[in-house]
Amino acid sequence: MTTGGFGIIDLSWWQVVLALLLVIVIATVSLRQRLGLERDLLIGTIRTIVQLYLVGLILAAVFSAARWYWVLAILVVMAAIATHAAVSRLAKPIPGVYWIAAAALTISTAATITYVIGIVVQPRPWWEPQYLIPIAGMILGNSMTSAALAGDRLQSDLFARRDEVEARLALGFSGLEAVQPLVRAALRASMIPTVNGMMTVGVVQLPGMMTGQILAGASPLTAIRYQIVVVFMLAVATTLGSLLFVRLAVARYLTPAHQLRRYLL
């Protein structure tokens, strides 16, 4: 289905089956140690193969169709899945959270992609799926995780620190002023993994995209240039994503009369 590029060994399905033997090692450990993971392992193995195979088929079709609207459709589906994943990690529902997450992820991803694709990488045409889809995927995946982290922290802090918030309200603070320390804590919590990641990137582990490019035969020096762009791109996307999400979400907990909607906590 795929033709190998320069310097890449095209894996046959037989070679993939050989890799499947590795799963037997895991199954053996699970059985011997009575971990009871065999069922999940089986499902996980099947899902890995089926999901990736389907994604491969779809991407191959989109790549060969070479139409901007197909690329856009893929991005919309990716954004919808990321939105659902970000929302489903929240402990308690927030009214309208789907729209909030969708807006936060879409705006942060669109803004970052516009800059990276339009100004930094500049592929021709701009919607070239080889660039747009993997880059959007990385951005969405990271924004989703950080928005979920921020939302989770905001929610647990609003509950744990509700008296503190109401003490500020009772002292004459506006709603937004009263929750500001909590918003800050949630943003910090969501950005720390990104900032920490920048400290150790390439030292502890080669980033996935860089690994992929090197495996695909790109020069490591090309690969690192891409990786540097990716690191900054993901940092800004996660920052924007969690900022938007927290700002929009916290407003759901406040009323125009500067009240905390305790019953939502």
Binding site: P93, D163, E164, E166, A167, R168, L169, A170, L171, G172, F173, S174, E177, T255, A257, H258, Q259, L260, Y263
Partner: protein
């Protein structure tokens, strides 16, 4: 409108309900409550736990939004006032004193960015002494104070806003008896010296007796009794029954 005969708070047919979660019915907290607090007077809210005392208190400074009825402050419906201004004029003191990270001084100086507050050195010292605390406390880490000191710092913080009314939500229930007595004394002397109107949720008979005024007995969000504490009002054994929530 704001003549001195006008009560500081007038609550008319107030009801409060919380929206139910997905598919669940409304949670009715308060039903048709009407009550007044005269200027400089006192009102004590008593009743079994879950009877809506704290919710009623929180309606007075609009931390809660009634689903029905009107709350008037100084003659005006509170929905016509800026809630932030209302909360400065009707200051709430919570059961568990909330102090922020930092020193006592920093806690006293806390204020919304858009508001100017006189927090001169002399005013801070004066206010601390009003609640029976020494000026030396100003530089102390607020987290290191005793429960009684913390509660009095939160009262001082409210006083710096020159409130007309104090709303007290079980101000002494988290304190040991000596500290509770000190806080009761502080509240009563402030009421005298500043002419403050006081609305208190409390289980402390000492505070009820010393505040005098009226007593509102709530059960399941409805008024069961509303009468003066002294004079022809509640006698001791009935007060005990009210406070323990066992009055029929």
């Amino acid at each position: 409108m704001t003549s001195s005969s006008e009560p500081i708070f007038r609550v008319e047919h107030l009801s409060l309900a919380y929206p139910g979660r997905r598919g669940q019915p409304l949670a009715q907290i308060l039903t048709d409550v009407s009550v007044e607090v005269v200027r400089g007077g006192a009102l004590t809210l008593v009743g079994p736990s879950g009877s809506g005392k704290s919710s009623l208190l929180r309606c007075l400074n609009r931390l809660e939004e009634p689903t029905d009825g009107v709350v008037r402050f100084d003659g005006r419906p509170i929905t016509e006032l800026d809630p932030r201004e209302l909360r400065r004029r009707a200051a709430l003191v919570l059961q568990a004193p909330v102090l922020f990270e930092g020193t006592v001084r920093e806690n006293l100086m806390v204020h919304a960015p858009a508001v100017t507050l006189d927090v001169s050195e002399s005013r801070l010292r004066e206010t601390l002494s009003e609640v029976g605390l020494e000026a030396a406390l100003l530089e102390r880490d607020a987290a290191m104070l005793s429960g009684g000191e913390k509660q009095r710092v939160t009262i001082a913080r409210a006083l710096l806003r020159d409130p007309q009314a104090l709303l007290l939500d079980e101000p002494t229930s988290a304190l040991d008896p000596p500290n509770a007595t000190l806080v009761v004394q502080t509240i009563c002397s402030l009421r005298e010296s500043r002419g403050l109107s006081i609305v208190a949720v409390t289980h402390a008979p000492e505070l009820v007796r010393r505040l005098g005024g009226a007593l509102l007995y709530l059960v399941k969000g409805r008024v069961q009794a509303y009468e003066p504490v002294h004079g022809a009002g509640v006698i001791d054994n009935r007060l005990q029954a009210f406070l323990s929530g066992t009055h029929p």
